[in-house]
Symmetry: C2
Subunit: 128 residues, 2 copies
C-alpha cells in the first residue's frame, strides 16, 4: 500500500525529530505533537495520564534533565489508515553509565492535515 | 461525538469478552481478534513480536496456565476515527497470591466491517 508507506515516512520523520530533542533534555518536540485529548503510559506512573496539561506538567519536571548520548530506533513500523496510524519500535538509549531498552507505541491522528500524537505508551523491555 | 461513543461501546465489549476468556486460561478470544499483520509488546519479550503466527505460538505456550480470579478494568477510554481506534485502560488482575497491575493499549482497526486488533502493548505499572 503506497499511501501507508508515504504516511510511514512522514510519521517516522516527526518521531525522530521529537526524539532527538528529547535526548537533549528538550521535550518541546513531543509537546508540539500532542493533542489536547492526549493519553499517556510510562513505567513510572500509577495510572494513565489523561490530557495535555498533565503531560506538560510532567515534562516540565524532566526538562533539562534527560541526557541520552546515543540511540538506536529499532525496526520502526507504521500500521495506518488514512486518518490514523500506529508507530511502534524498540529503542535503545545509551547514556554514559547504562543502556535503557524500551518498547514504544505512538498513535498518530491526522488533525487539520497534520499528523499529531493522541496516545503514547513507553515501557521497559524485560523489567521482570 | 456520537460515532466515537458507539465505537467505544463496541470495542470495550469485544475487549471485555476476550479478557474474560483469557483470565480462564483461554487465549482464543484474543486470537480471534488479531489480524495477520498484528504487532505485540509485553514485558517478557526482548523485542516487538510481528505477525499472527508468532503470537499464536506464544499463546499456545500459556494456554491453560493463566488463572485470574477477579479483575478490574479501570477507566477504559477509546479515541477513534471511523476506521481505527485506540483503547487504553489500567487493569488489576487478582490471583490467589497477588495482584498484577497493568497498562494496556489496544489498537483496533475496522476490517471488512468488523473491529479487529492490529497492535497490543502490555506493560506492568511501576516495575521500576
Amino acid at each position: 500500500m503506497n499511501y501507508e508507506k508515504s504516511i510511514a515516512t512522514k510519521i517516522i520523520a516527526l518521531e525522530t525529530a521529537a526524539l532527538k530533542k528529547w535526548n537533549n533534555g528538550n521535550p518541546s518536540g513531543y509537546l508540539d505533537l500532542y493533542t489536547p485529548d492526549f493519553t499517556y503510559f510510562d513505567p513510572f506512573q500509577e495510572k494513565r495520564l489523561d490530557g495535555f496539561d498533565k503531560i506538560e506538567a510532567l515534562y516540565e519536571e524532566v526538562s533539562g534533565k534527560v541526557r541520552v548520548d546515543n540511540y538506536e530506533m529499532i525496526d520502526p513500523r507504521v500500521q495506518a489508515t488514512g486518518e490514523m496510524a500506529v508507530l511502534t519500535y524498540n529503542l535503545l538509549s545509551y547514556t554514559e553509565e547504562t543502556v535503557y531498552k524500551w518498547n514504544c507505541t505512538e498513535v498518530y491522528k491526522l488533525v487539520a492535515n497534520e499528523w499529531k500524537i493522541i496516545h503514547n505508551h513507553w515501557s521497559l523491555i524485560k523489567p521482570v
